[in-house]
């Protein structure tokens, strides 16, 4: 049985919306997704599963909740898709409510279970299919739906208006120029080597990260630019809500802006899901095999700048540090070795996690889970005990993670489990540790 407290969480996006559902609409929607939108993968996965339960070991929700069998990945499929298929879509609004809770809040689509299934069944994809059904029925946790509404009307995740965007960039340019006189954030520079794109929470609440990055680009002497118009946001919550039409629109806008600026590469900030959206989930929905321009994650880019000597390190962080491997760039891009190389360059005392690399536990915030809003936080915290224990074992004081969702999720974990640690992005450390040019040292 699911945890009673979780089943009673109030969420208007789910509770009010299921009241509007009719049996016909539910059936029509489920049949549409299963029969028309899905093809080989869904059908073969459902036929191949022998119900062996070996995926259970993969799931942080299952492990954190004392191995309650209802939280095993296969059980989540059983309580959602299996029933929908078996009953040919004839399920009740209450069933949809339960399915939405499971798919949106008890699974982060981190794809660890896909690595533990002997057949390689992509269980996260099956959960995304459930989210798709819920989204088409209009049943999506309210906070998550709000970010999707923002994507749909502003093409960014956080209702950032055009003038706010420019204002944030100018503000950060001025801030960064305090330390590095003459620094610019070049806007819409055609043919630049690099277009830098960020996620909307950066201009909205973490603007300092933009100044940090501007400093890094300027010190390294990179020919770079940022777009002044829509398409600057590379994040994509619609990918996680199941609103794939909006997801496709957001990804297309981002890539079209890059094409219009005729840049050679797109470098993105420290975010995991944005990488996934831009590099595979988005292109897959749009029918592209790969993005039109190479996408470089911040971790790969820092590695390139540091390895080639364009950024030099003058001092190291002394306190003990550990790392959170974000699912979308480790399981999703194999950047674990580069990430560790960077950390070892920046820090004296690095203590690795176990399990690590592709096998690392999810932060329980990504995959849209943290975006489901504060009402779901107690549930999320119950699902992530293994992560807290894993960090505690390292004995580190600082957790480094190059992902926004991991960052927010880990702040919650530290607070709830009283770990007495703090979290940092790489660029915050890089700014402290890197060598600044002579000019910067002169008084302005």
């Amino acid at each position: 049985m699911a945890d009673l407290a979780d089943a009673q969480v109030v969420d208007p996006g789910v509770d009010d919306q299921i009241k509007k559902l009719t049996p016909e609409r539910i059936q029509r929607t489920i049949q549409r997704v299963i029969k028309q939108e899905s093809a080989a993968r869904l059908k073969v996965y459902l036929q191949t599963c022998v119900h062996c339960g070996l995926c259970a070991e993969a799931c942080h929700t299952y492990l954190s909740r004392d191995r309650d069998p209802d939280y095993a990945p296969v059980a989540k499929v059983k309580d959602t898709l299996w029933e929908m298929v078996k009953r040919k879509g004839r399920v009740s609004p209450e069933f949809i409510k339960n399915a939405a809770r499971i798919a949106f809040t008890e699974c982060g689509a981190c794809r660890r279970c896909s690595m533990y299934c002997p057949f390689g069944i992509d269980i996260a994809y099956l959960m995304m299919t459930v989210r798709r059904i819920c989204a088409l029925l209009g049943v999506v946790p309210q906070y998550l739906q709000d970010t999707v509404n923002s994507h749909a009307s502003t093409l960014n995740q956080m209702w950032v208006q055009q003038d706010d965007w420019i204002d944030a960039l100018i503000w950060q340019e001025e801030d960064a120029a305090d330390d590095l006189p003459g620094l610019r954030i070049p806007l819409d520079k055609e043919g630049a080597d690099v277009m830098y794109s960020v996620i909307a929470p950066e201009p909205k609440i973490l603007a300092q990260l933009i100044a940090n990055m501007a400093t890094i680009f300027n010190v390294a002497g990179v020919n770079w630019t940022m777009p002044s118009l829509d398409g600057w946001d590379n994040s994509n919550m619609a990918m996680y809500s199941g609103d794939f039409e909006v997801m496709g629109r957001v990804e297309r806008a981002h890539w079209e802006r890059a094409m219009q600026l005729k840049v050679k590469r797109v470098v993105m900030g420290e975010c995991g899901h944005a990488y996934r959206g831009a590099v595979y989930d988005g292109p897959k929905w749009l029918g592209w095999k790969e993005p039109p321009i190479p996408m470089v994650h911040a971790v790969e880019y820092y590695y390139e700048l540091m390895k080639s000597g364009r950024i030099k390190i003058k001092q190291k962080i002394k306190e003990p540090v550990t790392v959170q491997d974000p699912c979308n760039i480790i399981r999703g891009r194999g950047l674990h070795d580069k990430l560790r190389w960077i950390i070892n360059e920046l820090c004296e005392d690095f203590r690795d996690v176990d399990p690590r690399f592709e096998h690392n536990y999810c932060c329980a915030a990504g995959g849209g889970v943290i975006n489901c809003g504060p009402n779901w936080k107690p549930s999320r915290m119950k699902s992530i005990r293994v992560k807290a224990e894993q960090f505690e074992r390292t004995g580190a004081k600082l957790i480094i993670t190059p992902c926004h969702n991991c960052h927010s999720g880990i702040e919650d974990i530290i607070g709830t489990y009283k770990l007495g640690m703090h979290v940092s992005f790489i660029n915050e450390l890089l700014i402290k540790c890197m060598e600044m040019p002579e000019a910067a040292k002169e008084p302005a």
Partner: protein, 215 residues
Amino acid sequence: MYEFVRGPLVWIAFIVFVGGSILKLFWMYLEARREKSVLPTLSFKYGLRSLIHWMIPLSSRNQRLHPVVTLVSYLFHVCLLVTPLFILGHAVLWEESWGISWWSLPDDLADVMTLMVVFGGLFFVFRRIIAPEVRNVTTWRDYLMLLVVIAPFLTGYLAHQQLLPYKPMLIIHIITGALWLIAIPFTWLSHMLWFVFTRAYMGSEFGAVRKARDW
């Protein structure tokens, strides 16, 4: 009765098994074409890399976390595939009917391998009952499937040892064997057909697209 099961029934079973499998594979190909990115993603190199890592026992982390299940499952599947093809009793039939002869297993080894399938199957039944995460997703169909798989091996063994009346046991053996073959394309026993493809696809997505390892 014996004449019927020995002749037409075996024919029917083979035709349904082979024909059904071919149709299923063809259907999967058509379905895969409907998803624009599935076939272009498939990569021979990374598909094979993944298959190798999941076919060598204990070479993936999840296999190491479950050494007993891995070992039993490995022996179970090898014996299940090899024994029916190379047991002497069947080799004689191939030779009588088609005039083809091939290498066959020594009698004692074949006995051990047959029992391995039976006990492996019982182990899976036992696991479904005692492991909560498996019991939770098990229905009567799963037990029925295991029975369908174990039955031809158990009856074959009993017939061979002649512990029970030979002729009736032989008839039951052929009937259960036919049922097993017929069930493969239409139940979750079809993982026999899909395994290579699901594994190769996941391996390709991990290797070619995500530059990561999936074991």
